[in-house]
């Protein structure tokens, strides 16, 4: 059946297709990469040039990369400009933005810019670690299930489905609540451990369709091991798809971490953008009209995740010419 069933497209939740599979979307869900994988080697040389062309001319990719770079620079340069503990009480209480305190100060006299810069770092780290781990698990499960099939596939599928329906945040709630000290990486690892299922499912479907291609048969017939076939034949042929999946997992991890921090289950030391919002709400920044306290952290998250989603779409258009606007 060439009419793709929605499941094959694997809809990413939690800061999301796919697709859609190109695809498919819901709240906090960017389009699923729909890139057709499995191009033959002979097509790649010309395509590489084409990809470079579109990467350089595609506005979506350029703009999103620019936004991410700016935020990355702030994250790196911020701590140099404002050395010391970002939570230290350094300035006047509840001061609006000024030349000395660009983003103003909190009710307690903490420098919002210093917190913002260090929160950005935390956000990037959570995205990278959580998204990376989720991508790793998703790929392993997806490749093995899709390539080996059989009972192993059934079991992995069952596990995937179970983890998929458990609300990630709820699971993280009970787990993290019992940890008396929570670090950034612990948080990221827990996020990675719970947010991989949709990726596994999407990758499994792709692997499944690639498995029957001639070049995979050829490799198998020439005696290559399963591992070798997966890493030398299948993975490279869906590399663009895997990359898009990673981008979505990256953004998803950031959003989950923000929610967790906001409930008060974030890292117990340091700062994060979610924690800034938690404190702003807890200490009535809203009622006091201290917009400089709660606008930057949320804007930062929105900018990062939005840029990732737009980059995903831009890259999808590059990898999959059918989506380009004529």
């Amino acid at each position: 059946m060439s009419h793709q069933t929605p499941t094959d497209r694997g809809v990413p939740p939690g800061g999301s297709p796919v697709t859609a599979l190109t695809g498919a979307v819901a709240p906090h869900e960017a389009p699923v990469p729909r890139t057709a994988p499995g191009r033959l080697p002979s097509e790649t040389v010309g395509r590489r040039r084409e990809i470079l062309y579109f990467a350089l001319h595609g506005r979506k990719v350029l703009v999103s990369v620019a936004i991410l770079l700016v935020l990355l620079v702030i994250a790196v340069v911020g701590p140099i400009l404002r050395p010391g503990d970002p939570n230290a009480f350094v300035g006047p209480l509840g001061a609006p933005p000024s030349a000395d305190y660009w983003f103003g100060t909190t009710t307690f006299g903490q420098d919002v810019f210093a917190q913002f810069a260090s929160g950005l770092t935390a956000t990037f780290l959570v995205g990278l670690t959580g998204g990376g781990l989720a991508a790793l698990i998703g790929m392993t499960v997806g490749f093995v299930a899709g390539y080996r099939g059989g009972v192993l596939d059934e079991i992995l599928n069952m596990i995937t489905n179970v983890v998929l329906v458990i609300p990630t945040l709820a699971l993280l709630l009970v787990v993290t609540a019992y940890l008396s000290a929570r670090g950034l990486f612990v948080e990221a690892i827990f996020i990675g451990l719970t947010s991989w299922p949709w990726a596994a499912r999407a990758i499994r479907a792709q692997t499944f369709s690639l498995k029957t291609r001639e070049f995979v048969d050829l490799a198998r017939m020439s005696g290559a091991s399963s591992l070798r076939v997966i890493f030398r034949e299948i993975a490279p042929n869906m590399s663009s798809y895997l990359f898009l999946t990673f981008i979505l997992l990256f953004g998803g991890s950031i959003l989950i971490a923000a929610s967790l921090d906001f409930i008060g289950l974030g890292p117990t030391d340091g700062t994060s953008l979610g924690l800034m919002m938690y404190n702003a709400v807890a200490w009535s920044a809203l009622q006091l009209g201290m917009w400089w306290w709660f606008i930057p952290p949320g804007l930062g998250i929105t900018a990062i995740v939005g840029a990732l989603y737009v980059m995903n779409v831009g890259l999808d258009e590059i990898f999959n010419p059918r989506l380009r606007e004529a």
């Binding site: 010309g46 084409e50 004529a326």
Partner: protein, 316 residues
């Protein structure tokens, strides 16, 4: 004369420039003629079929005219062409297995389509059921979803639907490639039957599989690299083709005719030229065993015998 195509040029837009998939094609299709259109993949045969029905966003009409029953078709105008589609010119697509909306009952989809073209479904129903019986389907399929039908049933359903309004011209695009040999034969016979019953006047059967054409086609047209190489009655092509490419193509077939039985399946060495910037002159020159200086000029597609045209300096 059912169809007259004159100097048709349709290109594909790509980043690197226009791919000249159809680069000046001229031929006629007589009333009641089934023309086979064959060639390697990428030679432009499907582009030709598609251009006559629908030039989509990735294609670009460049030049040429198409006349059907004496009337010039506005093939470059997507909207005006709608009036001719289905009623005058129709297609059985390559993807017949997936051509039916998966979430609509087939009868409902047929009704939707007919009504949208100003034809009352109620008035067509009897005829539709008669034709379904002809291909071995019962009216029960109308109450089914596509997924409930086998591949062969879907194929036959699409064949009936595409020809329901008795179009003058039918394009059948690679319709046998997904089928086993027995089903291929049945499909081929159905096409001939449709013509015999006057469901369609003329037909262009596109395939890379010349053996199937041997069963159905009155004439064979061979394409190479966006141009016509040769057109002649099937028996002539099979027995005494003039163009060296036709010769090689026919002889590379595994199972056609007695003459080639002992021959091993031999591919033609070399590859067709890029259609991005095709070289001047005969496009088969580089692979041709008979090539000589004259081939640097482009050979015209000329009639060398009654109903036999060829584009080659050696034979013209």
């Amino acid at each position: 004369m059912t169809l007259q195509v004159t100097d048709l040029r349709v290109y594909y837009r790509t980043l690197a420039g226009d791919v000249r998939a159809l680069d000046g094609v001229t031929f006629d299709l007589a009333d009641g003629e089934i023309m086979g259109l064959a060639g390697e993949s990428g030679c432009g045969k499907s582009t030709l079929g598609n251009s006559l029905v629908r030039i989509d966003g990735r294609m670009k009409y460049v030049a040429g005219t198409v006349r059907l029953d004496g009337l010039e078709l506005p093939i470059a105008d997507m909207d005006r062409m709608d009036e001719f589609r289905f009623k005058d010119i129709s297609i059985i697509p390559q993807y017949a297995m997936s051509a039916l909306n998966p979430t609509r009952k087939i009868g409902r989809m047929v009704a939707d389509l007919l009504e949208s073209r100003g034809v009352r479904f109620g008035e067509m129903r009897t005829e539709l059921e008669r034709r379904l019986l002809l291909v071995g389907l019962t009216e029960a399929v109308l109450d089914r979803y596509p997924i409930e039908l086998s591949g062969g049933m879907k194929q036959r359903m699409v064949m009936v639907l595409s020809t329901l309004l008795n179009p003058s011209l039918l394009i059948a695009d690679e319709i046998t490639s997904a089928l086993d040999v027995t089903s291929q034969r049945a499909v081929a016979e159905t096409l001939v039957e449709f013509r015999a019953r006057g469901f369609v006047k003329g037909m262009i059967v596109i395939t890379h599989d010349v053996s199937i054409l041997y069963q159905v086609a009155d004439t064979l047209t061979i394409m190479y690299a966006g141009k016509l190489a040769e057109k002649a009655p099937t028996s002539v092509i099979m027995q005494k083709a003039l163009h060296p490419y036709t010769d090689l193509l026919i002889s590379s077939l595994p199972e056609v005719g007695v003459r080639f039985d002992e021959r091993r399946l031999s591919g033609i060495p070399g590859t067709p030229p890029s259609l991005l910037n095709p070289p001047p002159g005969c496009r088969f020159r580089d692979r041709c065993p008979l090539a000589f200086e004259k081939c640097a000029e482009e050979p015209p597609f000329v009639e060398v015998a009654p109903d036999h045209s060829v584009a080659c300096w050696k034979v013209a």
